[in-house]
């Protein structure tokens, strides 16, 4: 499945609005200015996701995972390199970093950050499609990229697509790169792309 330039631009614009809101929420939470950069968006068949992500994240990955259901259904993940996760946590809370495996409060903070971001992305789609979306409780995990993706692909049919959204958190003159991966069924993605074009026309 291909995404047209129009659809792509509309998607970036919409996500940017969502990320703006997420950044505002994070700023309010942390009491410091948190900016989310304009996202970079790519669409990949699920079986190519592994290769795409391996270029971005090495070995282990800290992921916050939420399942969403309704007329648009799928999996949403925020992925961070564990070192990036630790430094993001430190930047946000001012507490010295610990390895995530032993840092319950760090895992909780990243879960909340992931929750804010994923809600912003999926909420944007829900608003666009004017359909309700139900979310699962977010879960954080530190595991190999391979294992994380295996769990996703094992969960259903392979005829799914992944929206890979790359953005950076900017705060305190530092930048931490994170990746949001949204996995959608063919039907959900088709529905989303049609709605995107309609939205773009209305804007014009």
């Amino acid at each position: 499945m291909q995404i047209s330039a129009t659809q792509h631009d509309a998607l970036v614009e919409l996500l940017n609005i969502g990320f703006g809101r997420a950044g505002a929420s994070l700023s309010k939470l942390t009491g410091q200015r948190v900016l989310l950069e304009v996202p970079h968006v790519a669409i990949r068949p699920l079986d190519q996701l592994n290769a795409t992500l391996e270029e971005l994240v090495k070995d282990e990955v800290a992921s916050v995972h939420q399942v969403f259901s309704g007329p648009v259904a799928g999996d949403a993940l925020l992925m961070l390199d564990p070192a990036a996760a630790a430094s993001l946590k430190q930047l946000l809370t001012d507490e010295p970093p610990l390895p995530l495996a032993v840092d319950a409060s760090g895992r909780e903070v990243l879960t909340e950050v992931g929750n804010v971001l994923l809600n912003a992305c999926i909420g944007t789609f829900g608003n666009l499609l004017k359909v309700p979306v139900a979310f699962s409780v977010p879960e954080i995990d530190v595991a190999s990229l391979h294992l994380v993706l295996q769990r996703l692909t094992a969960a259903g049919d392979a005829l799914r697509y992944a929206l890979v959204i790359t953005s950076g958190f900017r705060l305190r003159e530092s930048e931490v790169t994170g990746y949001v991966v949204i996995i959608l069924t063919v039907q959900s993605l088709t529905r989303l792309l049609i709605a995107l074009e309609a939205w773009e026309k209305n804007q014009g």
Partner: protein, 538 residues
Amino acid sequence: MGRGNRLPDHISDAVLRWMDASAAQGILITDASLVIRGWNQWLVTSTGLTRDAVLGRPLFEVVPSFVERGFDQYYAEALTGQVKVLSHAFHRFVMPSAEAALRIGGQMQQAGRIAPLTEGLAVVGTVTLIEDVTERVASDQELRGRIATAEAASRVKDEFLATLSHEIRTPLNAVLGWTRILRSRQEFDVATVRRAIEVIDRNASAQLTLVSDMLDMARISSGKVRLETADVDLGAIAIAAIDAIRPTADAKGVRLVTDLAPQSAAVSGDADRLLQVVWNLLSNAVKFTDRGGQVTLGLSAEARTVLLTVTDTGQGIPSTFLPQVFERFKQADPSSSRRHGGLGLGLALVKELVELHAGSVTVASPGDGQGTTFRVRLPARGLLSRSSPRVQARGSADGVLAGVRILVIEDDLDAGEIVVRTVTSVGAVVMSASSVSEALELLRTPADCPNVIVTDIGMPNADGYTFLREIRRLPAECGATLPVIALTAYAAPEDRARALRAGFHAHIGKPFAPEALVSAIVRAVAGRGAPSPARPPR
């Protein structure tokens, strides 16, 4: 969940009763209008608000602080289907604790979740789960504290390694530099050679002190230091220490003054270790005193203690640094541009050694540029007259070994040469062997049987211990009864104890002081009766 999988009503009721009465979390349920419909026992206990007081009332009326803290937005989003995470780090708590609890233990630390309750795709209410994370927060803090301590220790270690590397290289630089200068010369003038020897000697000695201090510190840290306790005259030790430091003080133009009470006091202790204490204090004082300054060593006996003071007119110690003076690896100026070298171990060693002697050491300095005084107090043992046995002091020993025949066994040529030169310079006659087998061969054909044997311990093929066993099998007239002195780089106290147990007559650590070797040989030969050395060293 399909209709067939639905919980039977009586189980549903039981689950609700359990959540209400027994759940270890706070469970707050609202309808879609955010009116409170569920408030479990955990919430009753932690907020002090009874069910009668809250059920059926709007959430934000019961907990107005939710609006002040922006949670109203979270509930609005939960009503659209979103789940909201409330981490402890960002929010500290969800539900304010009861007034009474606030007065006693303060606000309970909490984390929480707000989730929609759905029927199909319609949101019919919200559920808020609240967790007590007080213990987790405390253990996290403890873990962070421990990590911070470990990191600080690791930083000290890194700084120490950097200093160590610098301190070890510095004297080597001087030694190698002057060695190369001498090697490049075709002809030698006496002044240059003297200067070279002086520099090489001073730097090699400095490095020896460095290595000894480090090993001592390691031994003290691992509790391996054993004092060889005897009645010791601290006055004699003070004089020996002054003798030892005098060349350094003279070279620097620092005046040494002694103020020793006429009747010095005895303490119970290890003479070598106490000498180390006094020497370290004097060395430190000389190091931090500029040319023209003065270092005074005082000794006085009180009723139950002996007080030793080292006072200098040097740069003094800033009051902020005074409490850290005796800590390891500490110097007031740790910067790379500092004027004074050293590892910062000397004073730490002084403190450890004095405390091993059941004594105490204190430091005082009126401030910058006003000098420093160290005071060591040791338990007194009783009074000794000044003529009591003294620590070996350097004396003229020319010809002291005249006529004594010595067999030297040493595999390292350079080390062997130093031994040979040392003993021949005082009149001894030397036979050399570079291995145990060569030595045994010499002894089996005794043209001139030696009076004493000086042997290295660590040697290839057969070591000093093997030699000792072998020689005991030789005939008594030349072999079995000969005194054998170990001269070895295995210089730790446990090495010394092992050597003496094995039957060596004496144990001398490398690098060795010439007079220590000579005096050990004198004692060994005197012990056998003949031939008696020309005169004993003082």
